[in-house]
């Protein structure tokens, strides 16, 4: 008798759960869409977003990098290559080459943390697909100049 009761109970409860399921999906069916069509519509990146690194700008449109190499040593994945020359003033160096290999970067941000002169910051770049490995090597100085031209 109990078995028979359970048999019918299961049918009724199961049927009701099916109706409930329908109610959820049909309810969602008439609600507005929440996705965006990516290449056509692009979302605003959050200011905190951490893309690959780039050089920060000084007031007089120069960069801060002194090619001390702290970031090179701190980087877990050997992403950074830096070269500098003795600056004309006589004291210290100025960076002339700053290469990053983005494909190996894990975006940990240690380089930004350790930089003694705050020469680095995170960029807002996120579309970084490329065809060759060489394309992932970015010359930050060239990028810096380009940005200056664009203003």
């Amino acid at each position: 008798m109990k078995g028979l009761y359970n048999y019918f109970r299961e049918i009724v409860v199961g049927f009701w759960s099916i109706i409930l399921g329908y109610s959820v999906t049909l309810n969602q069916l008439v609600k507005p869409i929440i996705t965006v069509q990516y290449p056509r519509v692009k979302l605003e990146m959050d200011p905190a977003y951490r893309g690959h690194i780039e050089l920060t700008k000084m007031l007089d449109e120069g960069h801060f990098c002194v090619a001390c190499g702290t970031c090179v040593r701190a980087c877990p994945s050997d992403v950074i290559k830096v070269q500098g020359i003795k600056s004309e003033a006589g004291s210290g160096k100025t960076g002339i080459l700053f290469l990053i290999d983005y494909s190996r970067c894990s975006l940990c941000g240690i380089c930004v943390d350790v930089c003694p002169v705050d020469a680095l910051r995170f960029s807002m770049e996120y579309e970084l697909a490329h065809y060759s490995r060489w394309d992932s090597v970015i010359d930050l100085h060239a990028r810096f100049k380009e940005q200056k031209v664009r203003g």
């Binding site: 290559k81 290469l99 190996r104 065809y131 060759s132 490995r133 060489w134 090597v137």
Partner: protein, 160 residues
């Protein structure tokens, strides 16, 4: 059985080489026992019977010898007991796989990474590494093979 009484029994029965009260706030261990490798199995048996579970099993390569480290813990009242044993030159120790299935895969991993041979293990094949691997990558004398080195940074490795 309470874990403190187990620890007493352990100390009484096995006569450890060294007993240390662990500094829990710094090392996360309540009791630290150094044993002879032959007594490890007996100790594990005692602990498992008392309701402990095997938390972790690994080895440390001290270049001159390998040291086995077992962490046991308890569900009701955390009491972490670490038992350790210095292995001889053959790197052999008795398996505890049949006592505790949790040790099965951990022993296999320990074997392939550090070359510790677990005698009595029913299926001591390599687990994470390729089956034909003939090296022990977590030993201190292991050198990365040249093909495992990352490609030189500024080299142009254009694929097309």
């Amino acid at each position: 059985m309470d874990s403190s009484s187990v620890s007493k029994e352990l100390v009484d029965k096995l006569a450890p080489i060294e007993v240390r009260e662990g500094d829990y706030d710094r090392t996360g261990v309540h009791l630290d026992l150094a044993l002879e490798p032959e007594k490890i199995r007996q100790a594990a048996e005692l602990l498992l019977e008392a309701g402990c579970f095997l938390e972790n099993l690994t080895a440390v390569d001290h270049v001159s010898h390998r040291e086995m480290v077992y962490h046991f813990n308890e569900y009701s009242q955390p009491f972490r007991i670490v038992i350790r044993a210095n292995l001889g030159p053959e790197d052999e120790i008795e398996s505890i796989q049949d006592l505790c299935p949790a040790a099965d895969w951990q022993e296999r991993e320990c074997f392939e990474m550090l070359g510790v041979k677990f005698t009595g293990h029913s299926d001591l094949r390599r687990l994470l590494l390729p089956e034909d691997a003939d090296f022990f990558p977590l030993r201190k004398d292991f050198v990365n093979p040249p093909e495992a080195q990352a490609p030189e940074y500024h080299q142009e490795t254009d694929d097309h």
